[in-house]
Amino acid sequence: MVGGFSILLWVGAFLCWIAYGIQYSSDKSASLNNVYLGSVLVLVVILTGIFAYYQEAKSTNIMSSFNKMIPQQALVIRDSEKKTIPAEQLVVGDIVEVKGGDQIPADIRVLSSQGCRVDNSSLTGESEPQPRSSEFTHENPLETKNICFYSTTCLEGTVTGMVINTGDRTIIGHIASLASGVGNEKTPIAIEIEHFVHIVAGVAVSIGILFFIIAVSLKYRVLDSVIFLIGIIVANVPEGLLATVTVTLSLTAKRMAKKNCLVKSPEAVETLGSTSIICSDKTGTLTQNRMTVAHLWFDNQIFVADTSEDHSNQVFDQSSSTWASLSKIITLCNRAEFKPGQENVPIMKKAVIGDASETALLKFSEVILGDVMEIRKRNRKVVEIPFNSTNKFQLSIHETDDPHDKRFLMVMKGAPERILEKCSTIMINGEEHPLDKSTAKAFHTAYMELGGLGERVLGFCHLYLPADEFPETYSFDIDAMNFPTSNLCFVGLLSMIDPPRSTVPDAVTKCRSAGIKVIMVTGDHPITAKAIAKSVGIISANSETVEDIAHRLNIPVEQVHQRDAKAAVVTGMELKDMSSEQLDEILANYQEIVFARTSPQQKLIIVEGCQRQDAVVAVTGDGVNDSPALKKADIGIAMGIAGSDAAKNAADMVLLDDNFASIVTGVEEGRLIFDNLKKTIAYTLTKNIAELCPFLIYIIAGLPLPIGTITILFIDLGTDIIPSIALAYEKAESDIMNRKPRHKKKDRLVNEQLAVYSYLHIGLMQALGAFLLYFTVYAQEGFLPHTLINLRVEWESDNVNDLEDHYGQEWTRYQREYLEWTGYTAFFVGILVQQIADLIIRKTRRNSIFQQGLFRNKVIWVGIASQIVIGLILSYGLGSITALNFTMLRAQYWFVAVPHAILIWVYDEVRKLFIRLYPGSWWDKNMYY
């Protein structure tokens, strides 16, 4: 309510009141018009202010709905009694008990624990569950095992601990306050709007002062000159524009919310559009965030499994009997189960009890074989040894489903090299072959290849226990291991990966063609990171890293020419030792960069590095400790599903589906809105000249005032509002994702061409059209154009009640005033009619309207209809309210400016035609905005 145009309007309002004050002091009966006008101006300022605030508040509300958390409860021992109290009532020294599934209510030091594991991923980015015990292991509180942190989750076991920090003093609280410490500065669109306001204000003030001086030197009274100044300011300031921009941005924000991008502040929409670097997380954003079987190796062959989201298309050869055995092992040697009550849920969406790999295997076999539970029932499990980190295998013994086969089947899976050690034969095409050197080599090749893809590989083997040694009544003992665990038959390998989302490669390609650099920042192992980067196209198929080149040429890494490599994989360890210059060099020189094994703190360093390159940086993140980086980024994007509340708070945008592809949609929308804002502003600026010229002509040539300030306000805040919003619905002219992101310092929203074309070309044509209508109305009532020149003083004098017109008729002051209002209405209609043409030509900046389609954007027609309806209401409905200065206008006058409107359209089509015909020419440079 104070910045930009508002100041100009405040000045206008105060000038109005001062003018009235002066009039009043000399003449007690001075008309109240100036007071009304001043009040209207203030009202405009206040209304637009309230409106902007309301829009802002509305989007903030969307966000705050995220923050609603269920009040957290804590089980505390006080006065030797266990009590449940709200977590915020905890104090340092309280003893609390936490069990699996609970959130840790404060930072606590562990006193005792039973098998406790916590999920610290939101804090440190480590996705593996961390064990917690009372043992002190490290000086650093983040590393030591005996501290559990506020807001992390206890996954299993129980823990009793003493509260050592609460609220803002917790580690999370520190990070959150660090995030809020990072300055919240202007968005690119805010800078653009400020720039635009400067231009318009500059024009308004300089023209205003220039004509003030002219008016004074033409011997006008200072008071009159002040009133002219007000008129010039009002004519020049697009009062409705800021509200329009706000609405336009919020509309886009709404549209983006439908596409799963929830934008916190509307302005961030455009920031996303000007993004030139995206620093993306891997897990969950680029990938599906679930382990999935990607490859199989059996019969000396690698098979590719379908890793798409629904797994529906498994094309590998399932006829081999080796597959039959392998599938049996996969099905049986697996403890994972579907949670009950999900009969109608698609398999891939069913919730599973079990770890990530077993879940992957369960779903994989369920998709291929059908009801896994039924198969397991038929092959009753006799005994099993679950997986543990010392023996690195899992084993179970089953009865077979063949009633004639009384043998037991032992199935085993585990780390491939451990499994192979236990085998003496290998199954090929359903037959057991001795495991010789060549087959072992084949195994190793396959294992290395799959491992090189960054996949987690498991080996599978089985053994049919001879029926004579192990009769049906044999009692197996897992502690005594009274059954063989060697000389088994190796069946196959199976590798799993968290596969990329199917939409991501496409999205990355789109980013690339849109000139956006996608950088992957992940805590994962470099090999996995690189594999995923390759599969989604962050590292393109034909580009190599320094290490790749070294490997290919068989030379040491140091000898590789740095410039030969297009891609780089940088680990957190390397990053730690780098100076910021070195980091800049990497960011500038490599097109494709993957940061692996990075800590979330290093993300901030990377973001700062990117910003030093003058880039607009988008960062995705989900953890609490990502929040400083999210805050630091030009646009922080938090994950809606996986994201922590702190991350969502720090971010400017929330991805509801955690999907990278949604970011690209957002970028597209952001770019579109930038283009469309240009159109809106060009549309709005144009009529300012048509509103300004009357004042200038009035001062210089002394014509009766062609348009009043109130009437101008009715255009700016009445007829023009809906059409300018309608331009926000305009479709893109060309593929906006095929051009570079705009340079935030060079590609301005309002550039010279836009202002010049709007003001000096179309604006001028509009002014002429409106003047023609004005002259027509006056001429047909008796005042021909030449009689109007220098008529102003007599015309406005209350003491002349028999002013002669061209025909010798005599007019009283009121009759003239009424004609003047008719003139206002005519000028208003003239501008209105031509603004329709202006609206249509603004649909495109380069293409012909006919290429774009006149009727594709229906909202434009709603806008045009609204313009006409508001115009009709003002002229015919409110024509009897004298305070508004509108009168009934004869119907034919609505068509006087139509030829001018058509002329505007034709002129603009010619402009666009030359721009298309001669790209890069003088015309293109001067006429394309």
Binding site: D27, K28, S29, V182, G183, N184, E185, K186, T187, P188, I191, A268, T271, Q611, V617, K631, K632, A633, D634, I635, D652, K744, E752, L760, H761, L764, M765, L768, L772, F775, T776, A779, Q780, E781, G782, L784, P785, D798, N799, N801, D802, E804, H806, Y807, G808, Q809, E810, W811, T812, R813, Y814, Q815, R816, Y818, L819, T822, T882, R890, W922, N926
Partner: protein
Amino acid sequence: MAALQEKKSCSQRMEEFQRYCWNPDTGQMLGRTLSRWVWISLYYVAFYVVMTGLFALCLYVLMQTVDPYTPDYQDQLRSPGVTLRPDVYGDKGLEIVYNVSDNRSWADLTRTLRTFYSPAAQEDSINCASGQYFFQERFLAPNHTKFSCKFLAAMLQNCSGLADPDFGFEEGKPCFIIKMNRIVKFLPSNGSAPRVDCAFLDQPHELGQPLQVAYYPPNGTFSLHYFPYYGKKAQPHYSNPLVAAKLLNVPRNAQVAIVCKVLAEHVTFDNPHDPYEGKVEFKLKIEK
């Protein structure tokens, strides 16, 4: 969101501005080289010449379509305005104050009246006495015009300034001239001549008697043969009919408000917005 704008020092800005004004490397002035400036100026000159031409053409067409004799519309001129001479305006409308014994205080007023009377050349006008509307379908007068009826100051008799050059101001019975605004082809009534009627706006109680007025021409009528008016081009020598009202019993040393209405069927005087439509109100104070 992070910072996108660096702060520049004032000297840097000045330097940038200077470079914008004159860039020695590229020879650009204000962002364009000289030849570029010439080109763009030529374009604008051509563009504006064409636009001005078009506008002039439009105005020319407009002038061609406008009837030279009669305006196309008279939306605002439904009923004529009425004015008063001498016309001295105060804060709110007409306010006439003079001192009977101080002839300087009314010299201006009488001069106004005298100049108002000094008639334009009426030699082409004819004498009319019909008292009926003087309709003229064709241009029978010299130079393709229509006849106008003469209106001579002498018709105002005592208020003509001929017999009494002071217009009654000295004796405290001043003459006021009531004029009805000209409207092309306006017919004030259906047959009877429009008549001026002056009265106190609020009857002064202390006087207890109505305003006494002597009207010239007798009855205060505008003779119908001055109507209809055919416009300046058809009747270049048209002279307005006038009515003089000699106020006979204006109290001394008190401000009185007087209203003079034109009474005719087609003249209205009840427009709340227009105080001069069909009537004229004025305040008069005669000091002694």
